[in-house]
Amino acid sequence: MSKPKSAYSIPGKKQKSDTHVIVVWVDNEAGVLARVVGLFSGRGYNIESLAVAEVDSKLNISRITIVTTGTPQVIEQIKLQLGKLVPVHKVADFMRGDKKIIFKEMALLKIVGNNIRRKKAIKFCKKFNPVVLDKTNKSVVIQITALRREIDTIMNDLKKTGLVSVSRTGAVAMTRGAEVFK
């Protein structure tokens, strides 16, 4: 009988992890983001991406969208722990693969190169609603909206056309149809 040399128990079986999008409505007050993020880091949950902004200036409500991975038990804990925070109004949670939900991320891509390269870059972005925000005779800044992995792919593609800088947002989410998050 080998004795574990610890005052603590050994970890049990690990369940399968899934990626979830968690939407949190909070009072827009000082420190609220730190409370939410601190809960994640303090309890060992991870954050893949984060998007936050005020959505109701009258009621002073901000909407935080967090992409995270965890076992069903961990996701459940995240929701319940978030729900306990005093400035949190409601919490919604979706699997990333949920067909009823739209997810979008935005990215700004700066390409530096000759005309051919710049054109090529815009063409690569065609599927993702490219908007040219700025252009000079050496460079172009393109805005695209897409899914995370689509942006990953296009970044890879654009390397050869002179991609020099990328700025990305976290994912935001919304339900399809007339329904709203509860």
């Binding site: 004795k3 574990p4 040399k5 610890s6 005052a7 603590y8 128990s9 050994i10 049990g12 079986k13 000082a30 420190g31 730190a34 409370r35 601190g38 809960l39 303090g42 038990q73 459940e76 804990q77 319940l80 722990q81 729900g83 306990k84 925070l85 005093v86």
Partner: protein
């Protein structure tokens, strides 16, 4: 125009509105305006501690023994950081505390000013909520909300950080008491169908067990009464966590003793073999469950808790009921009486085999120890202390370590709020200041801190507080010169390499007591123990009792780490047998 009040005055007006009688605190530059205001409020007494951690633990002791929130007042910077341990302790054990801290003036925040620290940042993960007051107009609302958050739902600590300039600024005061109740995070959402399901499970169970925790204490004295009614109504066996002790009489036949790492053989085996586990206000802590994968494999599990995040956190349960345990138990009792009026008698037969099994486990007598007539065995000391104090309404606090577990095993509690120990955080140095707080709340009662010599030295300075306020607390030190629990783990897991667990230079506790202006008593042999304990009880002054005990004694029974409930180590006898067979094998 209505009268204008300064921030400092508003603090006290709010405390008066909340019927606060005592504040535990320590002054400093950033709270001077509040301290200046103290003299104008006779109904509020300030207890001057010797270290802010002591203020926090004293407030915890006060809160746990009285059921009222404890109030702490500290200065900025080191005052606040010193209170962090106590806040975390209160957070882990769900104790309502309201900590008011001073902060440097608003215009200096962020400049690394003298005694500045990011108090709300530091205390964010160890409070239910905290506030930095930026406008004096918000002050009364915030303090009102602070008390509400601390005391409702699952109780816990909160902190209000008040910059010095806010304490001087003036504004109107609106009493918040009359205001409409703010929407707190209260969860009482259970419904009758859940109660019906529970009753159905209870009726069908032949091996049931009730597993109760600190939630029963936190729910108020009513909860303990309801628990007693539920237990007698069902005839079910009951076990309790460390924090739940006292909610059910410790000397009752249906009580199996404490469960968990140092729980009794019968309680742990019953948890392992039961077919229905009803968790009332406990949280499946790792000291309770042992190895999670093999935790009570054959049972349906019901979890009654006010905190929804406690459900399914460590152990997946079959029937969660979110609500105040008093209200849930009341519904269960009502439903049970209505649907199965003869439950107790019909159930007796059904559970008779189960009770037989429990008697078998009981006969192992797992709390037994080999007594000695030469040295005082620590378990014997606690048993004598219990026998000599049980007729008084005694309040017990503890530090953390072996003595704490022996106290939990051998001191039998009959009433709630009589047992104050740091369970979740396991804070050495908790017991002495907690005893100060308990004695403040109950000036005429006997308050004993069962201590270890290592723990008590962490907050020994609070003896000075006890002397200042004539608090006749008794510090009963089981002195084995070791950090006993550390030494025990080193013996079991690290081949007796007692790395740094021996204290080579201890103070003379009797002289130390005298230096503080209290009474010092020392007991060296079992013969003189009773006399000395009686002497301690009869002194109406703070006492440090230096009880010299066996240095090598280990705390048994014990579930070794990574083992399930049914693989307990029973004690020296059990080990000896194992050792002999081990040696025997190598010889062959």
């Amino acid at each position: 125009m209505s009268k204008l009040y300064s921030g400092a005055e508003i603090v006290f007006k709010c405390l008066e509105d909340q019927d606060v009688e005592y504040i535990f605190g320590y002054p400093g530059g950033a709270v001077l305006p509040i301290y200046d205001e103290l003299k104008n409020h006779e109904s509020i007494k300030h207890i001057l501690v010797r270290h802010e951690q002591g203020a926090g633990h004293a407030a915890e002791g006060y809160a746990r023994s009285s059921g009222k929130p404890g109030v702490v007042l500290v200065t900025s910077g080191p005052g606040a950081t010193n209170a962090v341990t106590a806040l975390t302790d209160a957070y882990m054990d769900s104790i309502p505390l309201v900590c008011i801290s001073g902060q440097v003036p608003t215009h200096l925040i962020g400049t690394d000013a003298f005694q500045e620290c990011d108090t709300t940042g530091i205390t964010r993960p160890c409070t239910k909520h905290n506030w930095l007051v930026k406008d004096v107009k918000d002050l009364s609302k915030i303090i009102y909300k602070a008390f509400e958050v601390a005391t409702t739902g699952r109780p816990g600590p909160v902190l209000v950080d008040i910059p010095k300039d806010i304490q001087f600024q003036k504004t109107k005061y609106v009493s918040s008491i009359k205001r409409k109740k703010l929407n707190g995070k209260i969860h009482n959402k259970f419904n009758q169908s859940e109660i019906d399901q529970l009753v159905k499970l209870m009726v069908n169970s032949s091996r049931p067990i009730l597993y109760t925790g600190g939630g029963v204490i936190n729910s108020g004295p009513k909860a303990s009464e309801l628990l007693r009614e539920l237990v007698s109504l069902t005839g079910f066996p009951i076990t309790s966590t460390l924090q739940g002790l006292g909610s059910y009489p410790g000397d009752d036949n249906q009580f199996l003793g404490m469960l968990g790492m140092h729980g009794t053989y019968e309680a742990n085996n019953a948890m392992h073999d039961c077919d229905l586990m009803i968790n009332i206000g406990a949280r499946f802590d790792d000291r309770i469950t042992g190895k999670i994968d093999e935790f009570s494999p054959k049972s349906k599990k019901v979890h009654i808790d006010i905190d929804p995040s406690s459900i399914n956190k460590n152990v997946k349960v079959d029937l969660p009921i979110v609500g105040d345990v008093s209200e849930v138990m009341l519904s269960v009792i009502k439903t049970l009486k209505k649907k199965n009026p003869n439950f107790a008698s019909s159930n007796k037969e059904k559970t008779s085999k189960w009770w037989e099994k429990i008697s078998e486990w009981r006969s192992v007598n797992s709390l037994n120890f080999i007594n000695s007539d030469k040295t005082i065995k620590p378990q014997h000391a606690i048993q004598r202390l219990y026998e000599l104090t049980k007729d008084k309404d005694t309040y017990i606090t503890t530090e953390v370590g072996q003595h704490q577990m022996w106290a939990a095993q051998h001191y039998k509690f009959n009433k709630p709020n009589r047992w104050m120990t740091s369970g979740g955080l396991g804070t050495m140095g908790y017991g002495l200041p907690a005893a100060v707080g308990v004695q403040i709340a109950h000036p005429d009662k006997l308050v004993v801190d069962i201590a270890g010599e290592a723990s008590v030295l962490m907050t020994i300075q609070e003896m000075s507080t006890a002397v200042q306020y004539n608090l006749p607390i008794k510090i009963f030190i089981l002195n084995n010169e070791y950090m006993g629990m550390v030494r025990q783990w080193q013996e079991l897991l690290h081949e007796k390499n007692y790395s740094e667990s021996y204290t080579a230079a201890l103070p003379d506790f009797v002289k130390l007591a005298e230096a503080y202006g209290c009474v010092g008593i020392r007991a060296k042999t079992p013969d003189e123990l009773d006399e000395k304990i009686k002497e301690m009880i009869n002194v109406n002054k703070p006492v440090i009792f230096d009880c010299l005990v066996d240095k090598e004694e280990n705390c048994f029974p014990m579930i070794p780490s990574g083992k399930p409930h049914n693989q307990m180590l029973l004690g020296p006898n059990d080990q000896k047998e194992n050792k002999i067979t081990g040696k025997g094998k190598t010889l062959v």
